[in-house]
């Protein structure tokens, strides 16, 4: 008697006829519980292939809603889903793809309180998140909960894949012991990415997940695969466990905004409400937008415009743009990350006296109901 139903035997034929795979591996998939953090560019393709492959229980964790700008790469969603909760939409679509599996939708943000208990309910964790804070939290919780972590990350045309914490192997902290300085850590919502890239990397993560669960093949433990799709060149770089870096005793909150504020020489952040008060009070102010042209074309706050790239490559000329070093300056971008970097450069390279970065950027500004100029 097979442990697979008639429907399952039919559905997974092409797995069952693989000599290295067979029914034993398929049953392991059926019994496996996999949690995917983030139903975004990486999470969508990973989830699709894991559902199709017959992973018995799939957790989809994402607190966010579908944005139209996600549709270029997040292939579980369509136009009608804009504004809906990602975890729910993704789970519904996966259940339709494969009714024989259980799909759990978890529309929550991963944090130091919920991570370890949540991970305890799964066998393998797949990281499809889009920021360093979550990535370090996922790594540390996997170490404490003793779960293998399938890692993938992308940047413009390049991706990285590895398997961490697998059978005593190295962890993310063995590669990069600590999160980067906030000003070096732009998130993917600000950096462009070719839509098919997370498709490739997320699919590799699904492949590694299946290998870890079934024991078929050699998972990428102790190897970092780097893939540049512009040249199609790959690098496979070996690394070993660093006992000091990989030791995790507890989960710690990483608060980027606080770290920056505590640096006496760095720029300060200003909340939307306080910024509005300053405008209402008629305080002398100059406002600088450091986003790209196309972002500014969608919506803007009345401001001078110099894209962050010009500050980074040293071609920015704030003076000919009309800015003055002795007038208080508020810098904004989409979410408040790029503006911190530009504010830092304004203070340190151009000797501006007082510079603030608008916390949460124009997104927070628009959410607060403040007037946004649409061109």
């Amino acid at each position: 008697m097979s442990e697979l139903s008639h429907d399952e035997l039919e559905r997974y034929q092409r797995h069952l006829s693989l000599p290295q795979f067979g029914e034993a591996a398929q049953v392991k998939l059926k019994e496996a519980r996999v949690l995917v953090i983030g139903a975004g560019g990486l999470g969508c393709p990973a989830l699709q292939y894991l559902a199709a492959a017959g992973v018995g229980t799939l957790g989809v964790m994402d607190f966010d809603t579908v944005d139209r700008s996600n549709l270029q790469r997040q292939i579980l969603f369509n136009e009608a889903d804009v504004g809906k909760i990602k975890a729910e939409v993704a789970a519904a679509r996966l259940r339709k793809m494969n009714p024989s599996i259980e799909v759990l939708s978890i529309a929550e943000r991963l944090n130091v309180e919920n991570a370890i208990e949540l991970f305890g309910n799964f066998d393998v964790i797949v990281d499809g998140s889009d920021n360093f804070i979550t990535r370090y939290l996922v790594n540390d919780a996997c170490v404490l909960a003793e779960k293998p972590l399938i890692y993938g990350a992308i940047y413009t045309f390049q991706g990285q894949v590895s398997v961490f914490n697998f059978k005593g192997g190295p962890t993310y902290r063995c590669l990069f012991a600590e999160p980067p300085d906030p000003k070096d850590a732009l998130s993917c919502s600000e950096i462009g990415v070719v839509g098919v890239l997370p498709g490739l990397i997320g699919t590799l993560q699904a492949t590694e997940t299946i290998k870890v669960i079934t024991g078929v093949g050699e998972p990428l433990s102790g190897s970092l695969l780097m893939w540049d799709v512009l040249t199609m060149k790959q690098q496979m770089i070996r690394f070993s466990r660093n006992p000091v870096a990989s030791a995790v005793t507890e989960l710690k909150e990483i608060d980027y905004a606080c770290e920056v504020e505590n640096e006496t020489s760095g720029p300060l952040e200003i909340e939307v409400a306080e910024f509005c008060d300053w405008i209402a009070d008629g305080r002398p102010l100059q406002v600088l937008d450091v986003r790209e042209d196309w972002e500014r074309a969608m919506a803007r706050i009345d401001s001078v415009h110099i894209p962050l790239g010009e500050f980074v490559n040293g071609t920015a000329d704030p003076f000919s743009a009309g800015l003055k070093t002795d007038v208080p300056t508020v810098v904004y971008c989409a979410s408040g990350v790029r503006s911190l970097r530009a504010a830092d450069i304004l203070m340190n390279n151009h000797e501006f006296h007082s510079v603030w970065s608008l916390s949460g950027g124009i997104n927070a500004w628009a959410q607060s109901g403040e007037l946004v100029i649409f061109s």
Binding site: Q158, L175, I237, G314
Partner: protein
């Protein structure tokens, strides 16, 4: 001696190319990176990066030899 150098992520953006061959004297990877940093205006310091020589992650005091393949790797977080 000649080495093959690969740049990833923001280093590739700041250098304007993904790989190059360099003719240089034997030196540590750290010294090499610092020279390239001031030459090309890289914004990341050594401690924000990892370095691999011949497909193995190594420390900045590693001495570069003729024919080595050197890769500078910033952390990336996109998803």
């Amino acid at each position: 001696m000649t080495i093959q150098l690969y740049y990833f992520a923001i280093l590739q953006d700041q250098r304007g190319l993904s790989e190059e061959q360099l003719e240089l004297e034997s030196q540590t990877a750290g010294d090499l990176y610092d020279k390239l940093k001031s030459l090309h205006g890289f914004t990341l310091s050594q401690d924000a990066l990892r370095l691999s020589v011949n497909q193995q992650f190594v420390g900045w005091d590693t001495v570069i030899h003729d024919g080595d393949e050197v890769v500078f790797i910033p952390p990336v977080s996109g998803g």
